[in-house]
């Protein structure tokens, strides 16, 4: 390569050069980044503070609402965890999400493998057109779904969600995986064939391990979408033991025209915790996964 003689230009060396040459540019970067982070974080901060305030303080107009002025109370958290069905909602959401992610990944991986490596009549259209499924919004679909879900006897069961969520997740995940699988060099395929692999082995022994970052990216997307869904659970579930976190928190804590703000904020933050934790562990994979998959389509 032409620049082989120059010192290896890794991000670190680049940063060192940058830092040396334009310190002010780095400081400016940090400053603006800090502003954006403040923008992103001030609502969750406020939600956190509110979740620790007493009801009386939440209802009072006195003083600075951004800090806790009275006692810090764990009452909202305690009430949610011990006296409402919040743990049930949590369990249901976990079950639904894990199942949906598993099923969606199965469907997506198989379809992506097929669409990136093989041809059949209409496959090119399918690969591009899969995106168009997002044009039909769930706020429209849930009405015809009543008939389908009801007909299958799944009304008021969280299995209806397991059936329906993949429609939201699979198209985008397939698209990511198609991009990622397409970027795997064909030489690997041929080497595998020479070794006597059939398709299934090629998929499991080569594609999936090499495309692991892409798969993790798809898993994260699927997880986030399933976890945060509101409209479908609102439409299909009404029993306490079937509700999921989003709908359950809202219906438990908003009763009639009475809003339990402290509890709502506590519930919102607890509902956000699992995705945050998941992201913390898998973020590097996610970035790497999107790198190859996204830009190669």
């Amino acid at each position: 390569m032409a620049l082989a003689a120059a010192p290896r230009d890794t991000p670190t060396t680049r940063w060192v050069a940058f830092f040396g040459q334009r310190r002010w540019a780095l400081y400016a970067s940090y400053f603006f980044l800090f502003l954006f982070i403040v923008f992103f974080l001030f609502p969750p901060y406020y939600m956190l503070v509110t979740s620790f305030k007493t009801n009386a303080e939440i209802s009072s107009l006195a003083g600075n609402p951004w800090v806790i002025q009275g006692d810090i109370t764990l009452e909202h958290y305690r009430n949610l965890l011990l006296e409402t069905s919040f743990p049930v909602y949590f369990r249901n959401t976990v079950v639904v999400t894990v199942l949906v992610v598993t099923i969606s990944m199965l469907i997506s991986i198989l379809a992506a493998y097929s669409l990136s490596r093989m041809r059949f009549w209409g496959s090119a259209t399918l690969a591009t057109g899969i995106f168009l499924t997002y044009l039909v919004p769930e706020t429209l679909l849930f009405i015809p779904m009543f008939k389908i879900v009801g007909g299958l006897g799944l009304l008021n069961s969280y299995w209806s969600l397991v059936l329906v969520y993949p429609t939201l997740v699979v198209p985008f995940c397939t698209w990511i995986l198609i991009g990622y699988f397409s970027s795997i060099p064909r030489e690997l395929d041929e080497a595998a064939l020479i070794d006597g692999c059939n398709h299934f082995q090629m998929l499991t022994k080569i594609f999936i391990p090499v495309a692991k970052p892409g798969i993790i990216a798809a898993i994260i997307f699927a997880f986030t979408v399933s976890w945060a869904q509101f409209i479908y659970p609102l439409a299909f579930l009404y029993s306490e033991d079937q509700l999921v976190l989003t709908v359950g928190t809202v219906t438990t804590l908003i009763r009639g025209d009475v809003f339990a703000w402290g509890g709502l904020m506590a519930g919102a933050l607890m509902a956000a915790a699992p995705p945050v934790i998941l992201y913390a562990f898998l973020m590097d994979y996610y970035i790497a996964g999107l790198t190859a998959g996204a830009t190669k389509t």
Binding site: N55, A56, I58, S59, S60, L61, I143, F146, K147, V149, G150, G151, G153, L155, N156, L234, A235, F236, Y238, S239, V247, V250, T251, I254, R255, G256, D257, V258, F259
Partner: protein, 449 residues
């Protein structure tokens, strides 16, 4: 009356089994031993009200060997509407389902006629009021009974101390928790006087606040206000009558009143006026007792000064908004006889009395006969605050949209016609004529079949 003879014929036809035509309990002998009745009922916000209802229903189930399953469905996010829509479309679900306000007319063709049941209930428990008839009897057939729980109305809720100090009106004296001087009320509690009081309170820094927005609370007070000025959007025959002097008078009145109300009422939802009065900044709202109940917990000094009482009267009378709930029986139910039995049991005076205690006075049945229940006298502090929650005077209880045909009334209510009409004039600065023209155009659209 034709209705009555229809009911009799059906009644006689359906009870041939043992021939015991006991008028007091006409359905006992048609209930199968065993079987299952499932109910989808409104999730009551008052703690303990759901349990009371569940207890009564399950007790009945034990005695009659029927398995009773109850799901309490919230109205938040219109969940109850969505669930009803799901069940109607899927043709499967609960046997008995709650229907808020206009929904009985929406599902008219899928609800089991209940004329005989209602006839029995009215005979034993007292007559339903006109609004029940208007909402639950589309095209002459009862499609639902009035639900014992959930129905409520919108009295004025005022801060006694603020009105006495700044507006010079002693509301506790005017609307006592006992016998009242109706002539005096008619003379002194008019919209003109109310406007004057609102102006003084606004000057003192404690405005009257009520929503003029997208949610149902907004419609629940504007409809009665407009009616009391003689304005109705549509007549009972479907004729668009919004363009009237009454409407103009009401809009002129609102132009003045909104000057003395907080600026952001146009974004208030159902709970905003609660928050307004609980915060201590508000001097009056119109709301069922939920605001006061929460104030008891979070701002007791405010709660001790809250008083529920009549709405003001206008040139055309005194009206109060309400939000009735009904229970209907889907025609795809597989256990209609037991379901009807249960409905009859739950609607009986003894059970309703228990439920009224459990709701701590929030539920307001649509039968005047229940108004002497003690709960409204006992709830405190301040003692007697709920006494005038059931209308004791000459208020006519309506639903906004009345008297238009229910299909149109539903849209007038749900699409907030009156609130948007007012906001176009008071916030948007439109002329009254333009705004009325817009409203007439909207009403024309609502008539779509």
């Amino acid at each position: 009356m034709r209705l009555f003879s229809q009911a009799r014929r059906r009644f006689l036809a359906g009870t041939a089994a043992t021939g015991a035509i006991a008028v007091a309990a006409p359905f006992v002998h048609t209930a199968r031993a065993g079987g299952r009745v499932s109910l989808g009922l409104w999730d009551h916000w008052v703690p303990g009200a759901n349990d009371a209802l569940r207890q009564i229903a399950e007790e009945w189930g034990r005695q009659n060997k029927v398995e009773v399953v109850i799901d309490f469905i919230t109205s938040i996010g219109e969940k109850d509407l969505i669930t009803a829509a799901a069940e109607a479309r899927a043709g499967t679900g609960h046997d008995i389902m709650v229907h808020r306000t206009w929904q009985v007319a929406v599902y008219e063709n899928q609800l089991e006629p209940l004329d005989d049941l209602v006839a029995e209930i009215e005979k034993n428990e007292g007559a339903y009021n006109d609004i029940a008839r208007y909402l639950a009897r589309p095209n002459g057939t009862w499609r639902a009974i009035v639900a014992p729980t959930g129905s409520h109305s919108y009295p004025v809720v005022s801060r006694l101390d603020l009105w006495k100090e700044h507006a010079g009106i002693d509301l506790q004296e005017l609307f006592p928790a006992g016998p009242r001087d109706q002539a005096r009320i008619d003379a002194e509690w008019t919209y003109e006087r109310f406007l004057e009081g609102a102006r003084k309170l606004h000057a003192a820094g404690f405005p009257f606040g009520n929503p003029i927005g997208q949610t149902s609370d907004s419609q629940d007070w504007l409809g009665p206000l407009f009616l009391s000025f003689g304005s109705q959007p549509m007549s009972g025959d479907g004729e668009i009558t919004i363009d009237s002097d009454g409407t103009r008078a009401a809009l002129e009145f609102m132009k003045e009143l909104t000057q003395y109300m907080p600026e952001d009422v146009y974004a208030w939802d159902d709970a905003a006026n609660n928050r307004w009065i609980i915060s201590g900044r508000g001097s009056a709202i119109q709301n069922p007792p939920s605001a006061w109940a929460v104030a008891k917990r979070d701002a007791p000094e405010v709660a001790a000064q809250l008083w529920h009482h009549d709405t003001p009267s206008g040139p055309n009378g005194r009206f109060r908004g309400s939000l009735p709930f009904f229970w209907g029986l889907w025609n795809f139910s597989t256990n209609k006889s037991a379901a009807k039995e249960l409905l009859y049991h739950l609607a009986s005076k003894e059970q309703v009395a228990k439920l009224l205690w459990a709701s701590q006075g929030y539920d307001l049945p649509l039968q005047q006969d229940y108004y002497d229940h003690e709960v409204w006298l006992k709830e405190a502090p301040p003692p007697g605050t709920l006494y005038n929650y059931p209308g004791r005077g000459n208020e006519q209880v309506i639903v906004t949209g009345f008297p238009a045909p229910p299909a149109v009334g539903a849209r007038i209510y749900n699409e907030g016609l009156l609130a948007v009409l007012v906001a176009r004039v008071t916030q948007g600065g439109e002329s009254i004529e333009d705004a009325i023209a817009w409203a007439a155009e909207e009403l024309e659209g609502y008539q779509r079949g």
